[in-house]
């Protein structure tokens, strides 16, 4: 292919540039170095934050270079494009040659080939050439593979090979990267990312984009039935402050009818019609309230109240009560609520109500008694929402990449030739030669073994 005319053409120069390994190494290193900057400069922060950190000139310079959203900048994309072109060109340049070599292996061992091979050995044998050819073919079949036999004049050539597929490992890996990029592009074009907060008991039909500048309509509704936050308990069974689980009980509604219900937790999302909902955050919706029941001495319920801190509630014909304080563990007796009771014509009185002893207040022997039923807190759940039709393409690419690497690194194309020809002294000249595309040291040992095995064969 060393054609002088072609080498000087511009097209060829461009092609040589894009297919060169030096370009590949350079692009890999530039991408590695460039990526570092985006980890030092925090990405996608509010402008005010950058203004605080950087001097004016530095801010303008970095902003001009798109350093605050570097991985989506035109120049980083250009690097990725250059990388992809390099990959594609290398594959287009080399794959046909490899295919040609694989389809038309050199099945005869001539003198020129012999000189290029690392492992060559020769010996002589008495007896019939054809008989030895059969014997050696059998021996090759046991180690490398059944040989192809070519008769060329007086000589007989045997050729066997193994691990041809290893020649393709590198192309599988390179193609897998392009497949991953295609998957990423499909996901970016046809998918979306979103975010939504849902109050307990409410449902939504829209989610907002991560930047919050736009909303996306869903063709179904999602309701949050309940959000629960549980904590780890210590060895004594007491609750610690370490969260154990964030869980949202979600329902998918089509035309108001529930079609799917699932409790999602971090690492276990809900999926409906290709849209995924991930537990991401939570928050308290409004203030906590205390549940207080008003009962007659016989136990009959008069009314149930929700007391918010410091907001008095009137009980007709009885008085006003206000939630004043709450203790999660009052004198070792568990959660307790302090209420202030104001009755007409009497000074206000304060009483502690224990959640564990709902009848405790009976001892006041009043018209009604109060019992505390615990705190109630409304939550909202924060969900990450995603649709990514390209993600499976990405996984196919990832799987191919690992397979390609294993083939490329751990398989080797091993070839073995035997040439038998009549010698001038009436014996048979035998030449054994071999080569391996990888791990030559290991093949050297294997070759020695084949060599001694073959020499030991007797008719």
């Amino acid at each position: 292919m060393a054609d002088d005319k072609r080498d000087t053409s511009t097209m060829d120069k461009v092609w040589n540039f894009f297919t060169s390994l030096k370009l590949a190494i350079t692009v890999l290193i530039i991408m590695a170095v460039a990526s570092i900057f985006g980890t030092i400069i925090e990405q996608n922060q509010p402008i005010e934050k950058y203004r605080q950190v950087y001097e004016d000139w530095a801010y303008h310079l970095l902003d001009r270079l798109n350093m605050f959203d570097m991985y989506h900048s035109w120049w980083f994309l250009l690097l990725l494009v250059l990388f992809t072109i390099n990959l594609a060109c290398c594959t287009l340049d080399r794959l046909p040659r490899v295919l040609k070599v694989v389809r038309n292996p050199k099945t005869t061992l001539d003198e020129n080939l012999e000189k290029t091979l690392g492992q060559v050995d020769r010996w002589k044998k008495k007896g019939s050439l054809d008989a030895w050819a059969d014997k050696y073919a059998e021996a090759m079949g046991k180690t490398i593979g059944k040989p192809r036999v070519t008769k060329n004049g007086d000589a007989v050539h045997l050729y066997a090979e193994k691990g041809v597929v290893s020649r393709f490992g590198v192309y599988v890996t390179h193609t897998s990267i392009i497949i991953i990029f295609i998957g990423a592009i499909v996901g970016n074009v046809l998918g979306f990312k979103g975010f939504v907060n849902i109050l307990e008991g409410q449902s939504i039909r829209q989610v907002s984009t991560p930047r919050g500048d736009r909303s996306i309509d869903l063709d179904f509704a999602v309701r949050c039935n309940k959000f629960t936050l549980t904590y780890y308990t210590d060895e004594h069974g007491h609750q610690t402050q370490q969260p154990k689980e964030y869980a949202s009980d979600l329902s998918v509604l089509e035309n108001g009818r529930e079609v799917l219900r699932k409790k999602i937790v971090v690492n276990d999302p809900l999926q409906y019609k290709g849209i995924w909902f991930y537990q991401s955050s939570y928050g308290q919706a409004g203030a906590a309230s205390a549940k207080v029941a008003i009962r007659e001495p016989g136990g009959a319920l008069v009314t149930g109240l929700s007391l918010f801190a410091g907001q008095p509630v009137e009980i007709p014909g009885y008085g006003r009560i206000t939630g004043t304080d709450y203790q999660p563990n009052y004198q070792g007796l568990g959660p307790a609520l302090l209420v202030t009771l104001e009755k007409a014509g009497q000074p206000p009185s304060q009483l502690w109500l224990l959640e564990s002893r709902p009848d405790f207040d009976r001892q006041r022997k009043d018209r009604y008694y109060l019992s505390f039923g615990g705190l109630s807190q409304a939550f909202y759940t924060g969900l990450q929402v995603a649709k990514d039709p390209g993600v499976n393409v990405v996984w196919v690419g990832c799987t191919l990449m690992v397979i390609g690497l294993l083939i490329a690194f751990f398989m080797s194309h091993q070839r073995l030739w035997v040439r038998l020809s009549p010698s001038a002294d009436g014996r048979v000249d035998v030449v054994l030669a071999g080569s391996a595309s990888k791990n030559r040291l290991a093949f050297e040992k294997k070759f020695e073994k084949i060599q001694s095995d073959m020499k030991a064969v007797a008719i």
Binding site: I25, L28, A32, T39, Q43, Y232, N267, V391, M401, F409
Partner: protein, 279 residues
């Protein structure tokens, strides 16, 4: 707790092994190196037991989980993997000189672990996933292979310099030939690279399952990509004229420095989604 005592013992064994390997190199006494090997084998047994005990102890505490979830645990796991990978290399290549360049890395790692909180803490919700096992194990086997490669790359540079100068003095004389060292730098990386790749992929799959996005240019992700790119450059350099030999060895060392940055630097210096790895 028992597991921590066993890890402390492992630290001492790695320290003693390092001293033996280095002393063997300087004193040219193979007996010392052989002692080093046995110390490494004992350390392998003790550290494996320690991981098992720690796992069992976490179950006894009612928070049973694989012990690879905070900085202390990941450091001891890295040292564990490094020791096993090293013993494999020593056995395979029948040369104990490597120990002086690899075992100190394991020892320093354990010393660093020693200064960190070793208590067993329950898992935060974000880490409660089966992906955790696959992700951490693949990453750390990769890291261990890269550590071995970088250690040997240093040996290669020393040996290559001596071969160029055509001198034959000092401890470098005892190293395997530069050709053999170059081969080993490469061999360690072809083990590490698929594991790192699998580690990045399992991390991406997990991120996608937990957050709905497989790649978000978080500093940890980006640094893992940087490591991957450097080793990809190494793999191509090795078959390019003018790039194999010294430059490839330097890329192997650069790759391991990037690995350390990815593993520790990101958590200790930068901020991001992997914050639980830093405490």
């Amino acid at each position: 707790m028992l597991n921590v005592r066993l890890f402390d013992l492992t630290t001492l064994l790695f320290g003693a092994a390092s001293v033996n390997y280095v002393a063997a190199l300087y004193g040219k006494k193979d007996t010392l190196a052989r002692v080093g090997t046995w110390l490494c084998v004992i350390a392998a047994v003790v550290s494996t037991a320690a991981i098992g005990v720690r796992w069992a102890e976490s179950y006894k505490m009612g928070i049973g989980r694989i012990p690879v979830t905070n900085l202390y645990e990941s450091l001891v796991f890295f040292a564990w993997a490094l020791n096993f990978f090293y013993l494999f290399v020593e056995w395979k290549y029948r040369n104990r000189a490597f120990g002086a360049f690899v075992m100190p890395i394991a020892f320093l790692t354990m010393l660093f672990a020693f200064t960190n909180d070793s208590s067993i803490q329950p898992l935060v919700p974000a880490l409660q996933s089966y992906w955790l096992h696959a992700h951490v194990i693949t990453c750390f086997v990769g890291y261990a292979a890269f550590a071995v490669s970088a250690g040997v790359a240093v040996m290669y540079l020393l040996k290559a310099r001596q071969e160029e100068a055509k001198t034959d003095a000092g401890v470098v004389r005892l190293f395997p030939s530069s050709k053999a060292l170059d081969d080993l730098v490469y061999k360690a990386i072809i083990w590490g690279f698929p594991f790192l790749t699998a580690g990045i992929i399992t991390g991406a799959a997990w991120a996608n399952y937990a957050w709905g996005t497989y790649w978000s240019w978080d500093p940890k992700e980006t640094w893992s990509l940087i490591v991957w790119l450097v080793y990809a450059a190494f793999l191509h350099a090795r078959i390019t004229r003018g790039w194999h030999g010294k430059r490839a060895a330097i890329l192997s060392i650069a790759g391991f420095l990037a690995t350390i940055m990815c593993y520790l630097g990101v958590n200790l210096v930068l901020s991001g989604l992997h914050s639980y790895g830093g405490s």
